[in-house]
């Protein structure tokens, strides 16, 4: 049996096994590969740095557990970035599967690293509201109007953090972490374009190319693309989080997929040449 025939008849479970081992190995034994901060990530950091200290910032976390490896590290780092600047963070979720996850991430960061901060005073999780783009537009007419209760069921009107918050004009910036619809595209189209709210976004790697036109036009002031973007953000902030650790595994996985593409084609070319001869 020739090598080409061997690979052609290769059971795909061997490919699964190789992929599994390549992902597992660097997670157990980190390779500490060098990371460089790309310009969209540097712009993200610069934009968040430009927010006046102590401002109230809107952060929309639009994802569910399927996006944990990419979205959660971005959320953690962005939240730390804002809290380090003494910003008051108002969090919303537009994905029905996301509120529990976002609440867990926020609680963990605040409880472990900022124990002095008070819920409802320094940060609040307004939770989920059904309606996608309609909620975004509704928030433009009044944030409290759109979210009369927070995630924990408390009245938002009585919260100190919500005092003085009317609509999007109350925020210097929107930080959006999103893994699909509704997400960054809808925030740009419904809110940035209409209410002129400056915004930065963290998105999945697979959807990042879609947002480069918005980045180039200035509608997005910065962009984190996938786990790589999250890892670069961690590096820019001097953190070593789960995205940085995950990049070693992703590196090997990407190289393996590239190897599979090349090998698959070499096998096909060999087969066609033989059939032609």
């Amino acid at each position: 049996m020739s090598l080409a025939t061997f690979f052609e008849k290769l059971d795909r479970r061997w490919i699964f096994l190789a992929m599994g081992l390549l992902v597992l190995f660097p997670l157990l034994f980190p390779l500490a590969l060098p990371l460089f901060v790309s310009s969209p990530v540097a712009s993200f950091v610069k934009a968040v740095d430009s927010i006046p200290d102590g401002s109230k910032v809107l952060m929309s976390c639009d994802y569910d557990p399927s996006g944990i490896p990419e979205m959660v590290p971005m959320t953690r780092t962005a939240l730390r970035h804002l809290l380090d600047k003494k910003c008051k963070v108002i969090i919303t979720v537009l994905w029905n599967g996301g509120p529990g996850l976002v609440d867990k991430v926020v609680r963990k960061v605040v409880d472990e690293e900022y124990p002095d901060l008070k819920y409802g005073v320094d940060y609040v999780n307004l939770g989920y509201k059904a309606g996608d783009e309609a909620v975004m537009v509704l928030m433009g007419q009044g944030i409290v109007n759109a979210f009369p209760k927070d995630y924990r069921g408390s009245d938002t009107r009585s919260m100190p953090i919500m005092r003085g918050v009317r609509d999007y004009s109350s925020f210097p910036m929107l930080v959006n972490i999103s893994s699909g619809y509704p997400g960054t595209k809808e925030w740009v189209q419904q809110v940035q374009a209409r209410f002129h709210l400056p915004m930065v976004a963290g998105v999945t790697a697979v959807s990042a190319p879609e947002f480069y036109p918005y980045l180039q036009s200035g509608q997005l002031l910065g962009l984190l693309g996938g786990m790589a973007g999250a890892a670069e953000y961690e590096k820019a902030r001097g953190e070593k989080g789960s995205a940085t650790r995950g990049m070693d595994a992703q590196s090997l996985a990407h190289f393996f997929v590239a190897f599979c593409i090349l090998l698959g084609n070499v096998v096909q070319w060999t087969k066609r040449r033989r059939a032609g001869a």
Binding site: F36, G100, L101, A134, A205, P213, H254, L263, G264
Partner: protein
């Protein structure tokens, strides 16, 4: 009347919502806000309707013992159990320590993440078996895809770090993303936006009626 009334409502509300985008006067903005709130409430009702529909379809499948009916039982039991537990716990059902939170953290969250994680394995298998370079265009696509895929990860930094900066994979990848990819994406976005506008106009004018009952 069964068809004319929805068409009339669609046309009036559609024109009104477009108007509200350009006219900030309260004569327009107040009713527009009301309509937005109605939309939010209707979406919430959509979840109730969706849940009822899932139950109807799956009860039917179980009753008639259609293929895979045993899995439909799992779905129905899981759906009802989750809703009942949430309803019993009332407001704050997702706070730490509740049973709903346990279901979310230990069942839903893990299963959802697992489904997505399986993609890596199937992408590798598909890359080996399905990504065939048969034409020059496919070759160009493959080269661009390989550069971007490899240039996005730090291993490429380690491998091409000795090259001059313009020749490194990360630099080439950034150039592809910022120029050729961006130009193509922008054209697609503009085309899609024009398509959406045309479809919206067709809906408002009553030319597009498929949303009513499946007719064209």
């Amino acid at each position: 009347m069964k068809r004319e009334l929805p068409l009339f409502l669609t046309a009036v509300i559609g024109i009104f919502m477009i108007l509200s985008f350009f006219v900030p006067h309260q004569l327009v903005s107040v009713p527009a806000d009301f309509l937005q709130q109605c939309a939010v409430i209707m979406v919430a009702f959509g979840y109730v309707l969706g849940g009822a529909n899932v139950l109807r379809v799956n009860f039917d499948g179980i009753y008639k013992q259609k293929p895979g009916w045993i899995y439909k039982i799992v779905l129905v039991v899981a759906l009802i159990a989750t809703v009942v537990v949430g309803a019993v716990e009332g407001p704050g059902f997702l706070n730490p320590g509740t049973r709903s939170k346990w279901i979310y953290d230990n069942i839903y969250s893990n299963m959802s993440a697992t489904m997505f994680a399986l993609l890596a394995f199937f992408i590798a298998s598909a890359a080996f078996r399905a990504f065939r370079i048969r034409t020059a265009e496919a070759g160009l696509l493959a080269v661009a895809a390989l550069i971007v895929m490899l240039g996005r990860v730090p291993l490429s930094n380690a491998l091409t770090g000795w090259l001059p900066e313009w020749a490194r994979l990360q630099t080439v990848q950034e150039w592809i993303m910022e120029f050729p990819q961006n130009a193509a994406k922008r054209a697609i976005l503009m085309g899609a936006a024009l398509g959406v506008m045309a479809t919206g106009l067709r809906v408002i004018l009553g030319l597009e009626r498929s949303y009513l009952s499946g007719e064209d």
